[in-house]
């Protein structure tokens, strides 16, 4: 709360982030810890839990007008899932507005492929929650600034 109040009026709204797991991946523990941690760090968290389709993630993200989506993967299926999510965001013309982050087990070899799709950051095992919160906040602020300066 303190952090939010300390902000300029124009940026009064807390950064809003959607957390979810796609498909049947059952490694949910990190996401629970992260949800709590991000909330404690002053972010507004929408927690979608497990067994989501890309369609549902994107629909809820747009309905809730989130700034960021954080998806966690432990199946090495991230390329296919993220291809779908990014594609749906582009179709809905929201790819510029919503920053997508990926966490969990994502081999570094795949980072360039995912970054080329528009994924903004990768949070692997051992990343402190504060680092993740800061990364999301920075990216969202950068986007907002970018949009403000645009035509």
């Amino acid at each position: 709360m303190r952090i939010i109040r300390a902000r300029p009026v124009a940026e009064h709204k807390a950064v809003k982030v959607l957390l979810a797991k796609l498909g049947l991946d059952d490694h949910t523990r990190p996401l629970y810890v992260l949800a709590q941690g991000l909330r404690d760090a002053g972010l507004e968290v929408i927690f979608l839990g497990t067994h989501n389709t890309p369609e549902r993630v994107v629909r809820v993200a747009l309905e809730e007008d989130v700034d960021a989506i954080t998806l966690s993967f432990h199946t090495l299926g991230h390329i296919g899932w993220l291809t779908e999510v990014m594609g749906l965001l582009r179709v809905r013309e929201a790819a510029e507005r919503v920053a997508v982050f990926a966490g969990g087990i994502i081999p570094e070899d795949d980072w360039p492929t995912l970054a080329a799709m528009g994924v903004k950051g990768f949070h692997g095992p051992g990343t402190p929650v504060a680092t993740i919160a800061e990364g999301v906040r920075r990216e969202v602020e950068r986007k907002k600034k970018g949009q403000g300066e645009g035509p």
Binding site: L24, T75, G77, H78, T83, D110, G126
Partner: protein, 575 residues
């Protein structure tokens, strides 16, 4: 080195937060009574071991995970067996679609297909071994291996852990029958603990009453028909521990689940003196050396005391189950994987000093991928070195009488008993699940672990301390050949093959025969009878996993698909 650099950074508590004194002495074990609290190995209360001669008689079963063998980066299982790398046991985990009880082409499976474990979905996958004309055999690398393991009588561990075990245990019973092997010779165990997964809230794919029925049906049937098979671990302590709880909670939850199952089986007419010792006690082998040893010793003692106190058995009639460990994956780091080899060795040594009868080591790649062959070789080497070079196996329970070990064994058991009593006083695990109390303990634990790491009370070398040791990374072979797809072709070649195999089976099988077997399964389910025999027959009629699950769901009055994404096949007349 300065004095400060030689200071131990981690806090003087066990991994479970039990404060550790600088030194222990006779005063700490004043109340210890040898006959009452320890006894000879193989004798009540079994603190010192399940068997009188322990490793002099027989080494532990080495569990080897089979999932890496799906990929071209690892040798096929048949070769691993022929070369002796797999010589006593092999674990068959469950792929995500198996845990969820759906077919590989369910819309929630997609890119995760085969990412967990071999996605066996029908007897068809085994081809010739099951007498099926399957030219494709997409899962050849593992299916042939598991069939060979069955032929050789190796211990086959079904590590599903959420109660979906019954789908594959019955599939393998069908395989045995098609191969002409007597079911009485089928050796193995299944974790088969659905409660654990509602406790840790991570695999609640299907409603608990459904998974509860299936888990109990399998236990009931297997206790009666498979003398060499342990149909449940009584409680999947490993998964619960890895989700964040401490060692006392781990034991408490394990025995609380065990009691829940045993009570129900007794209600179904089975006898505790015949089945109470059959579920293995499978715990988590932690990096906290002494706490792991204490926990394993305390586990056997708890089993013995519960048999007497709760089930009224004569101490002389109590038998001790084998105690196994699955070594902690959460102890492993992505940073400097070679350190994980050291961690595995320490966990394994602790397990052996705690008297395990079976264990499965984690690969150094645990945080990144399934095991490459190199990890299997290293792990089998660790076990051989412990068995042959260290001398620790030559005498049973060599740490007995140590002031610290005996104090800690008592402390862990005492802590566990208090939590167990609390669970039972609240009406047992299912009541605690309903109120959400037990899930809350897991969540608190997970948060505590993360906080301890971030605040540095717990040190993970290379993660939150000693960062200078991780650069540069010492190279080790990784399972780097896994095809993860691309934005243009998001499915891997193996995934496409598996989906094609499923489509082909649906076209080539005799659906009249399949439908008849499924209808019988539907009838048995509706009548509230044990479903195992009808499930085996459905597999033999070439039904798929999703069809068997859907039929049982319909029999229980549920819709075909839990997520409403898949419809019942038109040719199937049930419901």
């Amino acid at each position: 080195m300065t004095a400060e650099r030689r200071t131990i950074r981690s806090a003087p508590v066990t991994q479970s937060g039990i404060p550790i004194k600088v030194v222990y002495g006779p005063g700490d074990v004043r109340t210890l009574d040898y006959e009452r609290d320890l006894g000879e190995p193989g004798r009540f209360p079994f603190t010192r071991g399940t068997y009188p001669e322990q490793y002099r008689r027989r080494r532990w079963v080495s569990g080897v995970p089979g999932e890496g063998a799906m990929y071209s980066g690892q040798k096929p299982i048949t070769q691993l067996i022929e070369e002796g790398l797999i010589d006593s046991g092999i674990r068959k985990g469950a792929d995500y679609h198996v845990l969820a009880c759906v077919d590989p082409d369910h819309p929630l499976v997609k890119y995760d297909l085969g990412r967990g474990c071999p996605p066996l979905f029908a007897l068809w996958n085994f081809g010739d071994d099951a007498g099926r004309p399957n030219p494709r055999k997409a899962l050849r690398r593992t299916a042939e291996g598991y069939a060979l393991a069955v032929k050789r009588g190796l211990v086959l561990e079904f590590g599903h852990a959420n109660g979906s075990d019954i789908f594959h245990t019955t599939l393998f019973c069908a395989l045995c029958e098609e191969m002409g092997r007597p079911l009485a010779e089928f050796r193995g165990n299944s974790v088969n603990d659905p409660l654990a997964h509602y406790i840790i809230r991570c695999m609640a794919y299907q409603p608990l009453p459904l998974m509860w029925k299936l888990a109990l049906d399998w236990m009931e049937w297997a206790f009666g028909h498979l003398p060499k098979f342990r149909p449940t671990n009584g409680g999947c302590a490993y998964d619960m521990r890895e989700s964040g709880i401490d060692s006392c909670q781990e034991l408490a939850f394990r025995f609380a689940n065990y009691i829940e199952y045993m009570d129900e089986l007794c209600r179904r007419g089975l006898r505790i003196d015949e089945i109470g010792h059959r579920p293995a006690i499978a715990l988590c082998g932690e990096i906290d050396f002494f706490e792991t040893i204490a926990k394993l010793r305390a586990a056997r003692r708890m089993h013995a005391r519960i048999a007497v106190e709760r089930y009224g058995m004569d101490p002389k009639a109590v038998k001790c189950p084998p105690v196994n460990t699955n070594l902690a994956g959460t102890a492993m780091t992505k940073q400097q994987p070679i350190f994980n080899v050291v961690r595995s060795a320490i966990q394994a040594l602790a397990s052996v000093l705690g008297g395990v009868n079976g264990m499965e080591l984690k690969a150094y790649t645990e945080v990144m991928s399934s095991s490459p062959t190199a990890a299997l070789v290293i792990n089998r080497g660790i076990e051989a070195i412990i068995a042959e070079e260290t001398g620790v196996c030559q005498t049973v329970d060599p740490l007995a009488g140590s002031y610290y070990v005996e104090w800690l064994t008592h402390r862990v058991e005492d802590g566990a008993r208090k939590i167990l009593d609390e669970i039972l006083s609240k009406g047992g695990v299912r009541a605690c699940l309903e109120s959400g109390w037990i899930q809350g303990l897991v969540e608190e634990g997970a948060k505590r672990r993360q906080r301890e790491l971030e605040e540095g009370q717990r040190v993970l070398v290379g993660v939150n301390a000693y960062e200078s040791l991780v650069e540069p990374e010492i190279p080790l072979p990784l399972l780097d050949t896994l095809d993860r797809g691309s934005p243009e072709a998001p499915y891997s070649a193996l995934q496409r093959e598996i989906l094609a195999e499923l489509a082909e089976l649906r076209v080539r099988r005799d659906t009249v025969k399949t439908g008849r077997a499924l209808h019988e399964l539907y009838r048995v389910t509706r009548e509230g009878k044990n479903v195992v025999r009808a499930m085996i027959d459905a597999w033999k009629a070439d039904a798929t996993l999703g069809e068997i699950a859907g039929t049982i769901r319909m029999g229980l009055g549920l819709p075909w698909d839990e997520w409403g994404m898949v419809q019942k096949p038109e040719w199937l007349h049930v419901g």
